[in-house]
């Protein structure tokens, strides 16, 4: 220490004394990442979209998900539902059963189905029959105080109700108005939309599943994949519109047709057709570009005594990748497919359709007396890329997901203990991570908070509207 306390010497400060020492003191990258992302400690960090207020007059999964992305990043989202009934998704899926009660204070014996999960977290749930003229004033008041609105009605419906962009921009020029739906303007304007339509109409289902040659059909993904996917695409649009508004001060109208969403993930399908006139076909669990690079069926289940049929009968699939020449050689060696190695030495030869049919049949024959984990272990020990096809229970048990916080338990303020695998559609963010406050709230649970505390209507007015079922 120097005699004069006003003099600062680097030796006296805590921390590294030289660049070399700094390098030495740096945590290993793994530790660094853990400290940066710190799953489970999201609530101590700021929220990137705090200050954005968004309205959501949406239903089912697709459009609600576009807004829940904002809510998980910190925006105040007000979900407006039909009085006493709510979003129809509450009454669907799975098994048309409801699990979390109550739906609404007039319907204590009706609940909300689990299918509603992940599509509406962190939102304030109010009810309003906004197409009634008498309640329009409250709707416009919300528009004045909000940054944007996402809606999912048939094209022109909100315009007829004087709630479309061209009406709302007159009362709030900074307003961003989003329509998400089926076809959008054009020859098929009146078509509605569902996820299956999005998968079918854009050509995604036509390239999913096995070829008819081996008993396959155009296949829809079991989950509502295109609903989640196109919802996230809308979120991109919203964030870009917010950025544009910061520069210009003006709002935007976003029109998102769900049937076009999948064209973005169809990759080379259109260019391939444009150049060669070739219509892309299905190739199921195999790959048109790489071989061997697919999912094979093994003979024995990993859990032959399990009670659950998904474990007992279906834990039999393994993903194997060995398309490079050295890997292919190794795969043929460990599986004893010497004749196939001699026959298909080059990748060009083995990626041909006929070759693939022969190769995967031989691999499945080899795996016929083995369990999935045996197949995976043999391949991994030989230095090949192989993983079991995991089911939901195994994902839940997987320490990788658990450590990264992708699957986690949350104590929902209303519904209690809920296992969540959401909150990951923006990846991990070190400074402003996504977080979950609640999974959803009952219909109209925040009516007083929004109508009274935010908009300033007296509670007597709220009671009157409530009695008339306007809210």
């Amino acid at each position: 220490m120097t005699k004069d306390p006003r003099v600062t010497r680097i030796e006296d400060l805590p921390g590294p004394k030289s660049k070399e020492e700094l390098e030495e003191m740096k945590a290993p990258y793994e530790e660094y990442c853990k400290a940066q992302f710190d799953p489970g400690n999201e609530f101590s960090k700021p929220q990137s979209l705090k200050g954005i207020r968004w309205l959501s007059t949406t239903m089912y999964i697709f459009t609600p998900h576009s807004v829940s992305n904002l809510a998980e990043l910190g925006a105040d989202v007000i979900k407006v539902e039909m009085p006493r009934m709510g979003d129809p998704m509450r009454h669907c899926a799975p098994f048309n059963e409801t699990y979390l009660y109550p739906l609404h204070d007039t319907r204590p014996m009706t609940g909300t189905g689990m299918g509603f999960l992940n599509a509406n977290p962190n939102e304030y749930h109010i009810s309003m029959d906004y197409h009634i003229d008498d309640i329009k004033e409250a709707f416009y008041a919300l528009v004045r105080m909000s940054d944007g609105l996402t809606q999912c009605y048939r094209p022109g419906t909100f315009d007829r109700w004087k709630q479309s962009y061209r009406y709302l921009m007159e009362i709030n020029p900074r307003f961003i108005s989003v329509w998400g739906g089926g076809f959008g303007y054009g020859p098929k304007v009146f078509g509605g939309s569902y996820d299956i339509l999005g998968q079918a109409h854009a050509g995604l289902a036509s390239v999913t599943g096995f070829h008819e040659y081996v008993g396959g059909h155009p296949t829809k993904h079991s989950n509502w994949n295109i609903d989640w996917y196109s919802g996230t695409q809308i979120t991109f649009g919203i964030l870009a519109a917010i950025h544009w508004r910061e520069k210009t001060g003006l709002g935007t109208k976003i029109e998102f047709s769900q049937v076009q969403a999948a064209t973005r993930c169809l990759g080379y399908a259109a260019p391939l057709y444009g150049r060669f006139g070739i219509v892309r076909q299905r190739w199921g669990n195999w790959d048109t570009q790489l071989c061997a690079h697919g999912i094979i069926l093994c003979g024995k289940s990993d859990y032959p005594d399990a009670e659950n049929p998904q474990d007992r009968l279906e834990a039999r699939y393994a993903m194997i990748s060995a398309f490079q020449d050295e890997d292919w050689k190794e795969l043929c060696k460990i599986t004893g497919m010497k004749d196939l190695y001699d026959k298909y030495k080059s990748h060009k030869e083995r990626v041909e359709a006929e070759a693939q049919i022969e190769i995967y049949a031989a691999l499945e024959k080899w795996a016929a007396d083995k369990s999935r984990s045996e197949v995976v272990k043999i391949c991994q020990d030989a230095g090949l890329l192989a993983e079991p096809v995991m089911n939901d229970r195994e994902v839940y048990e997987s320490t990788h997901y658990r450590e990264r916080g992708t699957v986690r338990w949350m104590d929902d303020p209303i519904f209690g203990d809920v296992l969540q695998h959401g909150s990951y559609s923006a990846g991990l963010m070190s400074k402003t991570p996504r977080r979950l406050f609640w999974i959803w709230r009952p219909v109209g649970a925040d009516n007083v908070k929004i109508y009274h505390e935010l908009l300033g209507y007296p509670t007597s007015k709220i009671e009157e509207w409530y009695a008339k079922a306007w809210i």
């Binding site: 699990y99 009660y101 049929p309 296992l419």
Partner: protein, 161 residues
Amino acid sequence: MCDIIWCKKDFEGEPCNTINYLDPYCFWNWEGTINCAECGAVYYIHMIQGKMYKGPEERPGEKPDTSPLYADKPLDGYRFYGAGVEGRTRPFECLPRDIYLGVPDMVKFSIRGKPVRGHRPQPPSAGIAGSFGFDWNIKKLSPDLYEEYQQKIKNGEVTDW
């Protein structure tokens, strides 16, 4: 789309008239014998790429290899054998467990043993929806659930994961 075997054998003095459905996922490329779900007559078929290449031919006395997925009797007011009727239609391994048969299952605890509060009926003390939005005190508002939970903790049935 799925092929069928329309069984017209005499059964109890009348034509059997049962339609046995051969679902493509099982029968797309398939050769073997199938029983009629109603009268038990055995038929041989050979299907290639979803087309009936041979059959159905009667094979009396043979043991059936499998059964149809389901069957109905359209001339008989749609009498119906669903999937998994023993001895008639094919066992369906993924039959829903009994808790999935249309009655909501009142789960009070999650698989790790912690209370799931949104079950019904909610006691009157729970108030109307949203009244306790941010602090649902189960000790005060759902005392029976709270007691059950304490018991579970004592029994070591509550885990972190």
